[in-house]
């Protein structure tokens, strides 16, 4: 591990002031410190933001405001989250292990890096790690990489479970930085790889996430389901956060669907949602919606299974949510 400076920021403004090129913010460190050990991340300085006064989960109008430094385990256990946004609590609990969740912060979870095996191995090329060096995953081990929205430069997936639920819930990410404060709406925090796979998100250097705001909970029943080969402590092959509201007349009044494990971003299934709204809730409509979404998929030779998997998962989850 390369030598680095370490500073603990007193407040968000202090954190931003301490930021300089080559520095990184440090949350719980469960991802960043791993990457530093592997030589994937080599920050010259760490600005520790895990103890900033950015804690707390508080009502915010009809919604909720979650501090960026709230630990994953605290978030999942919070009564307001469990009562009003169970899909978020479930998604967080589906991720990692108890020990990791005790350390991991909300901001760090959103900004965790891909689990593409080449990205994590500095002895091999990777466009995301070293722009222009190539993407060996496309011709190699991509069994758990993207089927949607990928590019010829990168086929990585975003590994977060929590982010999938936040994308479904229209969460808004509050940011402060050298250029002032701004807000990015989920799923717009993350970006597709395009020609610049080294950029995971739309954040500019030095920008600090301060909070995540949730609007009022969407009406209807919700569920988070994660598919993986072992029962716990594994990243998703495919996951889904879904909210379904069926009116008294049996038609879909509203719905939200987001998928994990399929793209460089938590993938909001807008096509499926559009196909569903106003249609009669039932297997036919659910299959049509799932197929509308997955029609765009471009699987690679070793991850083609994700297309029927995502399709089946959408249909099954909606069937379970339908009254």
């Amino acid at each position: 591990m390369k030598a680095f400076e370490y500073a603990r920021a007193a407040d968000p403004a202090d954190a931003v002031a301490r930021f300089r090129p080559g520095a990184m913010y440090l949350g719980g460190g469960t991802n960043l410190v791993d990457l530093m050990r592997l030589g994937v991340a080599e920050p010259g300085a760490l600005v520790d933001v895990s103890r900033l006064p950015l804690g707390g989960v508080e009502p915010d109008g009809d919604g909720l405001r979650i501090g960026a430094a709230v630990r994953n385990s605290e978030l999942a256990a919070h009564p307001l989250v469990r009562e009003r946004y169970p899909v978020l609590a479930r998604a967080v609990l589906a991720g990692a292990s108890g020990q990791v969740r005790n350390m991991a912060t909300v901001a760090g979870n959103l900004l965790q890096r891909t689990r593409c095996p080449y990205f994590q191995d500095v002895s091999k090329p990777c466009n995301k790690r070293q722009p222009g060096s190539g993407c060996p995953a496309i011709g190699g081990d991509h069994a758990n990489l993207a089927v949607l929205g990928h590019s010829r430069a990168c086929v990585a997936t975003h590994p977060s479970d929590m982010a999938v639920a936040l994308a479904a819930l229209d969460a808004r990410v509050h940011i402060t930085g050298p250029g002032g404060d701004r807000v990015l709406a989920m799923p717009g925090l993350h970006r597709l790889p395009g020609d610049e796979p080294h950029r995971d998100t739309r954040l500019e250097p030095g920008e600090l996430i301060t909070a995540v705001a949730l609007p009022a909970p969407p009406p209807g029943a919700s569920h988070y389901r994660k598919v993986r080969e072992r029962a716990s402590f594994a990243f998703a092959l495919v996951s889904i956060a879904a909210v379904l509201d069926v009116g008294a007349d049996g038609t879909v009044a509203d719905c939200r669907i987001a998928l994990g494990g399929v793209a460089h971003v938590p993938w909001r299934a807008f096509h499926a949602e559009q196909a569903l709204r106003g249609s009669r809730a039932g297997e036919d409509a659910f299959v049509r919606a799932a197929e509308a979404e997955m029609a765009e998929a471009v699987p690679l030779p070793r991850n083609a299974y994700k297309v029927p998997l995502a399709r089946n998962l959408i249909v099954r989850t909606l069937l379970e949510l339908a009254p």
Binding site: M1, A3, Y118, V227, E229, F233
Partner: protein, 672 residues
């Protein structure tokens, strides 16, 4: 019996190899090859040597002096040729681990790469017939006319199964602490399954007389075969300590373990069976393709269990090996039998389906009177009893054989069965026993790799001496103690226990001390087929939409001689079965075809079962009385638990879904 060292372990007082506190210790971090085949053009250590704390850099630029006949994987820095990606090509010694690691990244190695080949294929042009398979079995066997048997059969099965590369992944990473004294004597604190063999091989690698080397390994956090013989870390620590003139620690990372500590070879196995309409086997053939490195011929004995299992008038087994640009495969729990029985026991299930005979009954029908290949009588064989007892306990009787018809909510449910077997052998060993301070001390260079062998030997000694186990202390894990074979091949307790029993008998005669060398007794063993047997039953559920497989319950029934200690035995059987569930459903090292080595090399990507995967795993056993084994009447229990598990799970998956997965692991991708 509770483990005699249990208290030390749970209170953190048990010291493992990397933990011994030593004054002035330095640390060594390896530099690994970034090509899979080629030559090292040059190693530029100048930048690394200028970094803080760096004491020395080792590489082929100045090959350290080694013995002439060092095992090739241990012959560090002797050659410029690279045999596999991840091979240790240089190393940095520094004051701290972090300094060593940082400087290792600054060592510049220039390569002349050559095209590599890391993929095992059934039609590989390099496949050849090795002279023998491990440890000394014939490569091929043939009895009767297989072609005629297949041609004349009413039902035939011709199927190919594959198992992937798997890594042992013991909890404690390989680690070594090396100290040279002023006289040129070397002491290694090592994580080892066998200190006598370890000492011999390290002495040979370093070109030292074995009296100058001592290997100490008091506690070992698992090995599963990967610590059966020394790995490069042991020799590296010795060389680094010599170069730095200080004690040196080498503690491999999990990632490094995937490269340099061995793995289970991938296999491609073709099985052909011909049977009559009642399922009686007329001909059976088992052909295996597997791999080794260009450095060492390691030929896994994959088809040897097929020589033992079922009565077949015509029986042929064959092994072919190809030397690839990979690290050398090694021993992993139940070598041979574990991958081989996945294929054979899956094929038996396919035969049961084809002839419409219950798979338990099919196995009973084909149970042989003598060992099928050799014709030797069995010292004892209770496979049929295991199958029947298991069927009774598992509730097999009402099983509807139709696949894909049982549903519980979103789950498809099925059950499967498979047989298990593992050889029951013993090797020569020595041991001593003495009366000391009002108690008894037994000394033997055995290993306790977490299996509880220290406890089992305590009990064996106490039984022989007719005293309370609390009066017996067993010292092991030190090559200065009486010579003992490795913890492996399910031979540990049988080999060491024989020596301990005889040493204690000698002590009873002498009154003060006793010593035994069992070489003669072992060599005088009558020629018999000695094997443990078992039957495994699995119930799985498969998510109809996602292909997720969960094992709802497993039962193993074993006939493995006399069981010395129920607590220890249960943990071996159940542990083996859990490891087998991992093999069935998730374990797989993904070969990196483009770069060599593997793409996954940590426990986040190489999946082992976690607690949530293990719902109900139960092991029961018969207490077999077999007088042809050893004084304790034991058969060895460390490996049989993993044999057959994967087939039982795969057969249950077939029963649940109607889908036969012949390529492990059985992941959702293969069931969608």
């Amino acid at each position: 019996m509770n483990r005699v060292e249990g208290h030390d372990k749970v209170t953190g007082r048990a010291t493992y190899a990397a933990e011994y506190p030593v004054e002035g210790v330095a640390y060594c971090y390896p530099v690994q090859a970034e090509i899979a085949r080629g030559r090292i053009a040059g190693v530029d250590a100048s930048a690394a040597l200028a970094m803080p704390g760096v004491l020395a850099v080792l590489s082929c630029e100045e090959p350290p002096e080694l013995g002439a006949d060092a095992e090739p994987e241990l012959a560090l820095f002797q050659r410029r040729e690279v045999a596999y990606r991840g091979q240790i090509v240089a190393a940095v010694v520094a004051d701290s681990y972090d300094d060593a690691r940082a400087a290792a990244r600054a060592v510049r190695v220039a390569y002349e790469p050559e095209a590599h080949d890391v993929m095992l294929r059934a039609d590989h042009r390099g496949l050849y017939k090795p002279d023998k398979v491990n440890p000394d079995f014939p490569t091929d066997t043939e009895k009767g006319d297989v072609a005629a048997g297949l041609a004349g059969a009413q039902v035939t099965i011709d199927v190919t199964y594959t198992t992937p590369t798997m890594h042992n992944n013991p909890m404690e990473p390989h680690a070594t602490l090396a100290l040279w004294n002023g006289d040129g004597d070397l002491t290694l604190y090592d994580s080892s399954q066998g200190v006598s063999l370890g000492r011999d091989m390290i002495a040979q690698a370093l070109g030292l007389p074995r009296e100058r080397v001592r290997v100490v390994s008091r506690h070992v956090g698992g090995g599963f075969g990967s610590k059966g013989s020394p790995r490069p870390n042991s020799v590296l620590a010795a060389l680094a300590a010599r170069a730095a003139g200080r004690p040196v620690k080498v503690a491999l990372t999990r990632q490094q373990m995937f490269d340099v500590t061995g793995y289970r070879t991938p296999t491609i196995q073709r099985i052909r069976v011909g049977a009559d309409a009642a399922g009686r086997i007329a001909a059976l053939e088992h052909e295996v393709a597997e791999q080794s490195s260009t450095l060492v011929e390691f030929a896994e004995q994959t088809a040897t269990a097929t020589r033992v299992m079922y009565a077949a008038p015509a029986l042929r087994t064959a092994h072919r090996l190809v030397r690839l640009d990979t690290a050398t495969p090694s021993i992993m729990r139940a070598p041979g039998g574990c991958p081989g029985m996945f294929a054979l026991e899956s094929a038996m299930d396919e035969l049961a389906v084809a002839v419409g005979v219950d798979p338990v009954e099919l196995r009973v029908r084909n149970d042989p009177d003598t060992e099928p290949d050799s014709g030797l009588p069995f010292s004892s064989r209770n496979l049929v009893a295991c199958l029947r007892e298991g069927a009774e306990r598992f509730g097999w009787r009402d099983r509807d054989p139709a696949p894909g018809v049982r549903r519980r909510g979103r789950w498809l449910v099925g059950t499967g069965v498979a047989s298990s077997t593992y050889p029951a052998r013993r090797r020569p060993s020595q041991a001593s026993a003495a009366v000391e301070n009002g108690g008894f001390v037994v000394r033997i260079a055995a290993a306790d790799i977490g299996t509880g062998s220290r406890t089992a030997l305590t009990r064996i000694a106490a039984d022989t001496l007719h005293v309370d186990p609390g009066l017996v202390r067993v010292e092991l894990g030190d090559s200065d103690l009486p010579y003992a074979p490795v913890a492996g091949g399910s031979m540990g307790t049988a080999s060491w226990g024989t020596a301990v029993t005889m040493a204690c008998q000698d002590l009873l005669r002498d009154g003060k001390q006793g010593f035994a060398d069992t070489t003669e007794a072992v060599n005088a063993d009558a020629e018999l087929a000695r094997h443990a047997f078992g039957a495994q039953f699995a119930e799985v559920r498969v998510d109809a939409d996602t292909g997720e497989v969960r094992v709802s319950r497993m039962l193993g029934v074993f006939a493995a001689g006399r069981i010395v200690d129920a607590t220890l035995a249960r943990s071996q059987f159940v542990g083996g079965m859990i490891m087998g569930i991992g093999m069935a459903l998730m374990e797989q090292s993904v070969v990196d075809l483009e770069f060599g080595g593997f793409t996954n090399h940590d426990l986040a990507q190489y999946h082992l079962p976690v607690n949530a995967d293990i719902e109900h795993v139960e092991a029961v056993w018969f207490d077999e009385a077999d007088g042809e084994l050893n004084p304790m009447g034991t058969k060895g229990i460390g490996e049989i638990g993993i044999v057959g598990t994967a087939a039982a799970v795969a057969n249950a998956v077939y029963h649940a879904t109607g889908r036969r997965v012949r390529d492990l692991p059985i992941t959702p991708a293969k069931l969608l």
